[in-house]
Symmetry: C2
Subunit: 308 residues, 2 copies
Amino acid sequence: MSATIHGSGSRAKRVFDLAAFLASSTAGVNKALDGFLPAGTARPATIHRAMRYSLFAGGKRIRPALCLAAAAACGGPEADAMPLACAMECVHTYSLVHDDLPGMDDDDYRRGKLTNHKVFGEGIAVLAGDALLTQAFEIAAQCKGWQRYRHQRIILELARAAGSLQLIAGQVADLEGEGKKISASQLRYIHERKTSALLCCSVRLGGMSANCTAAQLEALTDFGYHVGLAFQVIDDILDVTQTSEKLGKTAGKDTKAQKATYPSIIGLEKSQRIARQLTERAFDALRIFRGRAPALEALAEHLLKRDN
Amino acid sequence: MSATIHGSGSRAKRVFDLAAFLASSTAGVNKALDGFLPAGTARPATIHRAMRYSLFAGGKRIRPALCLAAAAACGGPEADAMPLACAMECVHTYSLVHDDLPGMDDDDYRRGKLTNHKVFGEGIAVLAGDALLTQAFEIAAQCKGWQRYRHQRIILELARAAGSLQLIAGQVADLEGEGKKISASQLRYIHERKTSALLCCSVRLGGMSANCTAAQLEALTDFGYHVGLAFQVIDDILDVTQTSEKLGKTAGKDTKAQKATYPSIIGLEKSQRIARQLTERAFDALRIFRGRAPALEALAEHLLKRDN
């Protein structure tokens, strides 16, 4: 996965080994998550097995990778960003577990495996999601604090991104939009909340863990926002163009659920152009780092070109 | 509700106006919660209406009252304890919303009103619970911090009490115990987690908001633990002895769900004796306050003698 990065502005093209970065960050995150969570045998074993089942179901660890990459761009050590990277993954996983429930999207498969409620039953799946969300705050509270970025601020940041005006607002609007004709701007409202909010929070918390400057934080926010929007546009595209096998989840389910998506509203080709434009905007936001954010650049490029 | 308090040790009997204390604390908590939560009209309106529906469904505000009473016992102003009192109520309400779901206890009524999922549907009820849990951390992060009790410690305290080894462990054990013969010690395990954990956390956080001493915190922990156990024993007793109308929820549902309860395991009379003994232990824990914890004493007495 060695990739030539399309740097913006005057930066020369460089080679960054994203595959090595992802392998290392994923291994680090998995190890840290394993340490933060109660053992699978901890009483009551069912809930801890259920939490671990979804948390270690082969997720791509994109949010943690963005968090660690943002910390690196701001010169912070990985260890300081790790609790926040793990907290982001717990929030993400909880949202998937609940999203898959019969009363929500009613999905049987996720990442090529049976969904949590198919394995543990609906009651335990609700509780496993609850426990992962709670765990996220327990882990986040264990991060390093700074004068500029106190624990209070970090917890507020996380709670707001995951809360009823952001992540949950996106889920609600998504749920309520099923079967309805919605506009491109309404779809953007959903994407901003359902996906961008957490991706943006991931890079912001990474920056905060590195005691970043206000200008760096603004750049990371801009980057995270655009990468998040691009990410969801691409998700919509893949739902149309890929097989279930490739995606590890039911393909074509947006169409089946009559969910509005970018391809269904503005067409496939224009969607692909928008994803590329949003990614370019994300690259632009990184100018302030003057080439010292190669992992963030490579991640944005990788997310644009992914096929699952 | 002016009550003569059965003080322990050498304390003289005094009169504390618990009704006035509860009226005032409930009004304060309701006003603060209203201010902390997004307006019911905030987009998407559904989720905010659903959150507010359950949060303002006539809950008795026992946990916030315990939190405020503990702060008062330690000489702290109500305003400093208020965010934590509100956070506890959000956690409590979220746990009820999820507990009532069809995949869990499947209840149609709570506090005499239709449960959240009966009004808003299952998907929104899951999300409303999620949003209330997230909101709890957002509110808790806005409390006053001290050198001794930093935000980090307060968030950890809340997350652990609500997490998979405490509150959620109790829910899981309760769910898994249905229809099974369980021992008195297993039942105590459930009660310690399902009820005591949050009640104990409420008084501890109240103490922390008042920058209490280590000895005071220990006393509050001891008090909260015993009041919490007594509370659940009484809940079990009321489920057998009261009507649905009086309880505002389905009476006799423990028996129907073949849930083990204190009355079913050790009988009604012995259960009542145990509730009284646990409450006495709670009184004993308050000795350190030398009569300056009248609200906590009155609350423990009130919870023992309640009929709903």
